[in-house]
Symmetry: C2
Subunit: 330 residues, 2 copies
């Protein structure tokens, strides 16, 4: 197959080359939605990618992989990226981009324009199915770090959030807690939805009560700000949706004179690098980051080399890590 050019896209869409260029470079505000849709459809149909990413992948050629994470302020994602960096073959480079809420889809296009051959998506796509399909047609590999059965055009690598949520509930129930706060933000990603659903299901099936306290985001600061709201529920334990929230919550509870774990148990999620260094050391759920990073890297490189291979899905177990922040109900 000859190389597909911007001229081919323009021809198929029935518009000028200048129009295609402006639409694909995000400068198409003055064109109608219909025109933009035609250009995007034509691009996908013939699999056009801009020059930078149209490099042929000869033996030993340099491969550029884009990694999208929601925030690098959360050490979970910093650690994930660092594990990837430590697992890359010599001829691969990582370009990392952060994408806040609603920005992941647009970030994919920026990465494509900067010449990536594949993308590892650790953020939440707004239109995952459409993006996956578009990237597949354009010959760019996509690996998502989530469990989403509808994503037939993307390989997936993840640690089971269903198992994780279940492990948390089982641990708190075994300690005798019958009323637990679920602490986290309201706009759940797919992973967080699986995590919370499994947690609530297990708690409710055992006859326990779950109160929910929403936070603005998943940071230490949001966790600390929620301490008062958590304490007035009269619950005896809290499940914070990640370690950041848990550490913030513990600090906030301390400031209100509530000691963890004596007065309230707190469990986090992720087993971030600092969880064992914190006092009280954090009880949490470990996601095997090094395995996820290694598998994601292998999967995206394999997809680049074998675009037509079957869909790959790697699911890893999560593991309960019991430390000092949870205790039996007194």
């Amino acid at each position: 197959m000859g190389k597909v050019s911007i001229r081919d896209v323009a021809s198929l869409a029935g518009v000028s080359i200048a129009t295609v260029s402006q639409v694909l470079n995000g400068k198409g505000a003055r064109f109608s939605e219909k025109t933009k849709a035609k250009v995007l459809a034509a691009r996908d149909e013939i699999g056009y990618v801009p020059n930078a990413s149209a490099r042929s992948l000869k033996q030993g050629a340099k491969i550029l992989i884009g990694v999208v994470v929601p925030s690098l302020r959360n050490p979970f994602f910093g650690d994930l990226v660092q594990h990837m960096q430590e697992n890359i073959p010599d001829n691969v480079s990582l370009s990392i981009m952060t994408a806040g809420a609603g920005q992941a889809d647009q970030t994919v296009e920026i990465l494509v324009n900067s010449g990536v051959h594949g993308i590892i998506m650790a953020g939440q796509l707004a239109q995952p199915v459409a993006i996956a399909s578009s990237l597949k047609k354009r010959g760019i590999a996509l690996v998502v770090l989530e469990n989403h059965d509808g994503l037939v055009d993307a390989d997936a690598v993840f640690a089971s959030d269903k198992m994780g949520g279940h492990l948390v509930a089982e641990h708190l129930l075994a300690l005798g807690h019958k009323h637990v706060v679920l602490l986290g933000n309201q706009v759940y990603t797919d992973n967080l939805q699986y995590r919370t659903a499994a947690f609530k299901e297990t708690m409710l099936a055992a006859g326990a009560k779950v109160s929910e306290v929403a936070t603005r985001n998943l940071t230490k600061h949001a966790g600390r700000a929620a301490a008062m709201a958590v304490s007035i529920t009269q619950a005896t334990a809290a499940f914070a949706l990640n370690d950041e929230l848990a550490i913030g919550l513990i600090a906030g509870l301390n400031a209100h004179g509530i000691q963890v774990p004596n007065d309230m148990s707190v469990i986090g999620y992720d087993d971030t690098d600092y969880a064992e260094f914190f006092r009280p050391a954090l009880t949490t759920v470990e996601q095997p980051l090094w395995l996820i990073a290694e598998a994601a890297m292998k999967t995206v490189v394999a997809r680049i080399n074998h675009p037509d291979a079957e869909r790959q899905v790697a699911a890893f177990d999560t593991k309960l890590i019991v430390r000092e922040s949870t205790a039996p109900l007194s």
Copy 2:
């Protein structure tokens, strides 16, 4: 001036286009050092950049900025990048790359090849003067986050490490400590060299004793592993070169039955996001990350728009943050 092509580089260097391509793409191992040097000199002389980055910067065009950090496992750098992300104009995107020891120079070339218009360097270049000169000739903006007078071809944004090291020493001296451990890795970057020099100078001028304990790197794990070595010095306080080391050291000292700050004072550096959440809350030196991030972003964009403007240097003050991990000598 017409567009400079790879053909021009080959012609000037007196070698084939294939040779230029292979050398510039890091696949020139089979060529002599002399040939490689000729190619690089010719590239710099005529200011050649590969296609991806040769985009003209018309009004409103997309700007791609590369950011190089040593590691994203250290929350200091994750936080720095996140502040940058929160400060970017609409038409700017960030491509973040991590570069371990000795890899920063090579990472610059990967970013140039992926089409960046400018680079913010938070890592340690092995050949800063040569890289800065080369990027300048090629019309790519460079901002380094360090204080290095010899870097005439790069703009600089930094918080004063001289002031920071001095503040640490003054604080420990005021608390009555006369023998202090300096804990950190041996391969100092420029910033760490300024920091340690100012610290030692102030301590020694006051007649205090400084013992040094080297670590493998600047992580929590390295700090914890150094606890025994720190304790046998019989020093009454420790200055860990960053918060990561400090938090690891405190955990390691605890494990040996040494309480902070009662038995030993520990001070960190950076005022990372978690320093206030840790117990004991960490005494440390704040680098104004949001100011550094904002200035770096403004400076690199200004340099892209005005390549021939005078060199810009922005120096910010550091600030001592006293919390619970340091106490008067008992």
